[in-house]
Amino acid sequence: MRSLTLAAVLLSAFAISVLIGASFGAVSFELTQVTGALFDAMLMRPASDPILSQIVIELRLPRILLAFIAGAGLALAGAILQLVTRNPLADPYLFGISAGASFGAVTLMTVLSGISLIFLPIAAFIGSALSALVVLGIAGKSSYNQIERMLLAGVATSFLFSAATSALLYHSDPQAAAAILFWTLGSFAQAQWSTLALPMIVISLSLLTFFAFSRQVTAISAGDESASTLGVNVARIRLFMLILSSLISAVIVATCGGISFVGLLIPHLIRLVMGYSSTNNYLLVATVGGLFMIYIDLIARTLLTNQEIPLGIITSIIGSVFFLYILQQRSTRQ
């Protein structure tokens, strides 16, 4: 019963946020106009206001949905990694995935500059897959010290790829450097209906898999040996969860660039507000992450007129201030 109520609340929050997100922007519309346009599109009716309909359905809606999917995916990946490593700082980017993606993108823009930028997502994906493989290879199949190996390998990989990226940037022209900087800070501006499919499929399937293994993940979050006595194959499940989280992050980074801090922030936010074990409710984590991202994107496109602020800047500012606030609260409480 409680979970049904929660699902209803989350669904209505999602619907309202989509409407709000679709109403504001360079041109703002009334909520009723947006609702009308959405219903026209859903019922395949000819639009009553073609321009408004065009803006809402073709420009804003895919962008809002991409923001939701990306936020949901990053929050989920963060929550899962925090649970299976029992490390509160775990987050997809800690494992070098974003550094790998940047390296892939920068290599394409500088070394292989003859190739069309359409292949940018693919290059980013290859880069992040490369870094994930390094981390996975070092994490290994044995549960002994696996967490330490995973985390340290992630940090080292991150530095390695960042250094390589910096080296390439140092030797490239300033224009390319600016384009790359913008890309690494993340944006949903490229969102189209066609770009939604892949992230949507990957994240839905991962969510489903997380549901399947939720007992095992919860058991691991209470300790390796204890999980093992409950019949959980700790090393294998943890590796599998790392692979899924890497895949989610790689797809998101490839589609939207680097959006830092969401994977770290959202699980902690949920834990703080709703209690420690709430991060085991993956639907809640995914929805809160998605909604958070819809509003971050709204800020990114409406705060300055005629100009978009890169997402990474907003998430990092909000994220770090929020984090410092939590830490300060905790230290005063104790």
């Binding site: 399947a212 058991a219 209470a222 409950l230 959980v232 194959n233």
Partner: protein
């Protein structure tokens, strides 16, 4: 002849060149309450870990109901053997959530908790007398209450064998007796490692004395807890008499200083 529930056959475990366990043979019958005793570093925890399939032995086998535990899936073994470890106070889950984890090996992927499952969890919490603390955070509980929660988890896990690694560590005398009595009332087969030899004498019907990874004595408390065996194994002076209530041996230590036994210092890593 009764078939043993658990049988260890020529079991050894090496780390590098060091033998932690060597050629351990041991059988446990249905309903027995078996105590593992021995000095620090004698291999008690390692022995228990090989039984609950956490450590893979370098040689030898562990049979449970005549089946090699390494020929079975981890979840199958966890349906037959439950473990209460020394409590780990780092858990921010509630008592209810901890106890519910006992369902893990019995559940298929995607399977949710039924009303029956939740009732089982509630009953287990009631059986250890923690109903009033069910919603409480595990790490805020006292050591004795934490141990009782983990026992409730083992009850939910519903296995034939229960293994406990020093369950009375850090507990006051009331909780030491309370915990072991609760375990005894479960009427399960139990293998437990204990430091306190008088507790072992009072509760166990079979004792196994380990020294440097080998079994050096086993049998009833009266057979194992003799002044000679214990003073040699632990390098202490001890007198043994009969306990006035339970009639098993009562050990009285002399609390004098003895020279360290040569070769007994195993913690040279």
């Amino acid at each position: 002849m009764i078939k043993p529930l658990l049988a260890l056959n020529q079991l050894s475990w090496k780390v590098g060149n060091k033998n932690i366990l060597s050629q351990v043979n041991l059988t446990v019958n249905q309903g027995q309450f078996v105590g593992i005793i021995g000095t620090n570093g004698a291999g008690k925890s390692s022995l228990l870990r090989t039984i609950y399939r956490y450590i893979k032995p370098s040689a030898g086998q562990v049979f449970f109901n005549n089946r090699d535990i390494w020929q079975q899936k981890a979840s199958q073994v966890a349906q037959q053997i439950a473990v209460v470890q020394q409590s780990n106070a780092q858990l921010s889950y509630s008592v209810f959530e901890i106890v519910k984890m006992g369902l893990t090996p019995h559940k298929k992927l995607f399977e949710t908790d039924s009303l029956l499952d939740l009732n089982k969890v509630k009953q287990a919490i009631e059986a250890v007398g923690l109903t009033h603390l069910a919603a409480q955070n595990f790490e805020r509980l006292s050591g004795g209450e934490q141990q009782r929660s983990l026992i409730a988890r083992a009850i939910v896990q519903d296995t034939e064998l229960l293994i406990m690694d020093e369950p009375t560590n850090h507990l006051d005398i009331h909780y030491q007796i309370d915990i072991l009595n609760r375990i005894k009332q479960l009427k399960k087969t139990v293998v437990v490692s204990l430091h306190d030899l008088n507790l072992a004498s009072a509760f166990c019907d079979h004792l196994i004395l380990l020294e440097q990874g080998k079994i050096i004595a086993q049998g009833t408390p009266a057979q194992v807890l003799t002044a000679q065996t214990i003073s040699q194994a632990y390098n202490v002076d001890v007198s043994v008499s009969t306990h006035p209530v339970h009639k098993n041996p009562l050990l009285t230590f002399h609390y004098n200083v003895r020279q360290a036994k040569t070769g007994a210092i195993t913690c040279d890593r």
